[in-house]
Amino acid sequence: MIDNILNALEANNITISTGVPDGWIVPLIKGLSEDKRFDYIAAAREEECYGIASGAAMSGKRTLVLMQNSGFLNSIGAYTTLCQKYQTPFVVLIAHRGGINDSNSYDPNKHRSFEAVTHGMNLFVHPSSWEDLHINIPKAMARSEGAGEPAFITLTEAMPK
């Protein structure tokens, strides 16, 4: 499954990625980090991811950002005053913790706030299964570039074993 995703990223010239880890997306972060076709930049904080991805976008490159839903909540100011203001396209893959498939009992508040905030901001958020990520990330990138803004994809469960 990870190989399918990585091959789709390369085929669509998405060769730069950056993120702050969540347990669910570790397999993809490891894949990106260990594959020489890609540059994965481990960021200390989610705002940096928007900066890195926006810098790449304004340089004509395509970027995948990975973070948890709480990371989005951490970084809304940077999102609005950088990504929206400068109209920088890229795809953000969100580990959407706290839903019905999440066994972590401490995560529901993240889920509820992410849903409310992204709805309130009228952002493009598309749920995906792991199986369809290799299709949905390129589609989201095309949508992002067409709209001149980031596109979000949410995963609501860990990668199937």
Binding site: E48, Y50, K85
Partner: protein, 184 residues
């Protein structure tokens, strides 16, 4: 910390260095973007108008996108203080082609010159604290840097309390002018 070097002079020095190396410059919101534009408006300048502290991160994204171009992040001390984690990220990523410059005047220029909380930071010690940086120099010594073997950190001590001249550019215009450099 501050010195009697005016911000205009510091940016003239920085642009002279950038022109010599055909370097791209990403500048933080406020004083950095506006003084850079006043020193010399060039397509290779990427002016940020929000949020504070993103120049180092945006410059990292630019540097990773074009590894054959020298990229300079022009950061305010107040701004970089809001994104100190980016120094760890840059140190860990260690792009050869990135130079981070901090314009250190000890105040928030645009906020009635209130002192910044990073006043006690020893900027001259950055490459020891963040060992991915190959060196730390002062702005007068920027010409000594090995630009093929970064990243480097530059500490520019400047005079406080002088608001920059002139207007900025619209963010989307900045984006497309900068991007056009790479579509030829």
């Amino acid at each position: 910390m501050s010195s009697n070097v005016k911000q205009a002079e510091a940016f003239e020095k920085l642009v002279e260095f950038a022109d010599k190396h055909d370097a791209l410059i990403v500048a933080d919101i406020g004083s950095q973007s506006l003084w850079l534009k006043a020193a010399k408006d060039r397509p290779e300048n990427l002016y940020l108008s929000g949020p504070m502290g993103m120049a180092s991160s945006v410059a990292l994204g630019v540097a990773m996108s074009h590894k054959d171009r020298l990229v300079i992040a022009a950061c305010g001390d107040g701004a970089l203080g809001m994104n100190m984690g980016s120094l760890a990220t840059i140190s860990n990523t260690a792009p050869d082609n990135l130079i981070v410059v901090v314009m250190d005047n000890g105040v928030y220029e645009f906020t009635k010159s209130l002192p910044v909380p990073s006043l006690g930071v020893n900027w001259s010690n950055v490459s020891h604290t963040y060992p991915g940086f190959k060196s730390t120099v002062t702005l007068p010594d920027i010409g000594t840097l090995d630009t093929k073997n970064g990243p480097h950190f530059v500490h520019a001590e400047i005079e406080p309390a002088e608001l920059p001249p002139g207007p900025g550019m619209h963010a989307v215009d900045v984006h497309h002018r900068f991007k056009s450099l790479f579509s030829k």
